[in-house]
Amino acid sequence: MLKKLLPTFSLLLALVAGGPAWATGTPDALVRQISTDVLNTAKADKAIQAGDINRIVAMVEEKVMPHVNFEVVTRSAVGPQWRGATPEQRSKLQAEFKTLLVRVYSGALTELKDHTVEITKTLPVAGSSQVVVQSEVRGGSEPIKLDYRLDKPADAWKIIDVNVGGLWLVQNYRSQFATELNKGGIDGLINALVERNKTAAAKG
């Protein structure tokens, strides 16, 4: 009896505690939850509405980043040379690329304030376990596409790329990465990323 009740009880507890309902949920539920969370936070925060990039970055770090699989993201942008990278190089690449992508995504968000998000459909990616959840940001002069590509390697859906206005943010770095890799290998790429992040941070 108790054995039967226990799972029910823990499920209830998880729901009440606002626990990770998305862990077993559908990818569109996860995207909807993130979108709603981000929009509500943005609406309640004057600094974000004023376009304060540091606050937006903080919000993205807190609300979105836990749902991103950064290893897949970085690996897909780096390509085959990922295999030859040492664990230190890999974690360095991930850290620097994350800083860069958070800035890209946050910058895109500053143009989307005061808007509503409508999830349109979820499409499977042929030949993989991935899906793309499509949504549209409405409220500007023209709706802007905001799509998420997700995969479920273990028990939870994780974001592996984001499309803003027709542009896949991670994929768009591939050829730039390839150029740096051809010039200076993995370390060359790391240096280029470090340099870019440094100048951007200095500008504030």
Partner: protein
């Protein structure tokens, strides 16, 4: 969602002829521009004229820094938002009418009807297009230009092309742009002077809307030219497919084979990289 329809022979023949003309003219031009003796940048299949394009991009950057950006910033700071929105709506209304025509040319009757109704509404009830009551009425703007129409009928992009002033394009889209310009707001006027004035205001309007985006570009691109090129091509592809292009392989299967565990296989032995 709609798959790219099979090419209509007549249309594609016409388009190919147009593209070939443009190609011939440009190839001739490019050959003289590329300085002798410079080693070409590793040829990118989508961007065979990269050397030339990069020079045009540098020119555009210089022009932007010296003229367009300062003017756009002044426009943003001096002109009240209400007026700027009115100007943007007015231009938008003219292009909406052109979008309706392009949707018709692509056989999207319903979209075309929505855009047509949108234009009629904004022209009649929005002070000739200065206001945008149609958006409130959920007559949503879906812009389409002639380059997209060409793409819809299967005309290939052709090589990437950086245009002076107009920025990133392709042979196909540059052809489309030339057609678009024939119906641009500036053509509404019959006087040469007015056409220049309207055209200039349009440029300032477009640049002002891009202020934030291009500032971001400085902070996030490892190579601005490559970023702009790749972003342009991706977005146009998306637009031609009406937001639903086939998904590309993410190419993330460079799974762990820790370099220490096994003698690292040479790069050539690894799985083939998916072409972009």
């Amino acid at each position: 969602m709609t798959p790219l329809p099979r090419r209509s022979p007549a249309v594609s023949r016409l388009a190919v002829a147009l593209a070939l003309c443009a190609l011939g003219a440009l190839a001739g031009g490019c050959a003289t521009v590329a300085p002798a003796g410079t080693a070409p940048v590793a040829a990118n299949p989508v961007d065979p004229w990269e050397n030339f394009n990069r020079k045009v991009y540098a020119f555009n950057e210089a022009l932007d820094e010296a003229l367009l950006k300062p003017v756009a910033e002044a426009y943003r700071d001096v002109v009240p938002e209400l007026v700027r929105t009115g100007v943007d709506n007015f231009f938008g209304n003219v292009y909406d009418a052109w979008s309706a025509v392009n949707q018709l040319l692509q056989g999207k009757l319903e979209d075309s009807l929505v855009m047509g109704t949108r234009v009629a509404t904004n022209t009649l009830f929005g002070l000739g297009g200065l206001l945008d009551p149609a958006t409130e009425m959920r007559l949503t703007r879906r812009s389409e230009d002639f380059g997209q129409t060409l793409g819809h009928w299967g005309v290939p992009n052709g090589p990437f092309l950086m245009l002076p002033l107009f920025g990133p394009s392709t042979i196909r889209d540059a052809t489309g742009l030339w057609v678009d310009r024939q119906v641009s707001p500036a053509q509404l006027s019959d006087s040469e002077t007015k056409r220049w004035v309207i055209g200039s205001i349009e440029v300032v309007n477009v640049r002002t809307k891009l202020l934030q985006t291009l500032r971001l570009l400085d902070d996030v691109a490892l190579d601005k030219y490559a970023f702009v090129r790749d972003a342009y091509l991706a977005r146009r592809r998306d637009a031609v497919f009406d937001g639903a292009p086939p998904f590309e392989d993410l190419g993330d299967d460079w799974e762990d084979e820790p370099p220490a565990a096994a003698p690292a296989p040479p790069a050539a032995a690894s799985a083939p990289q998916t072409p972009r």
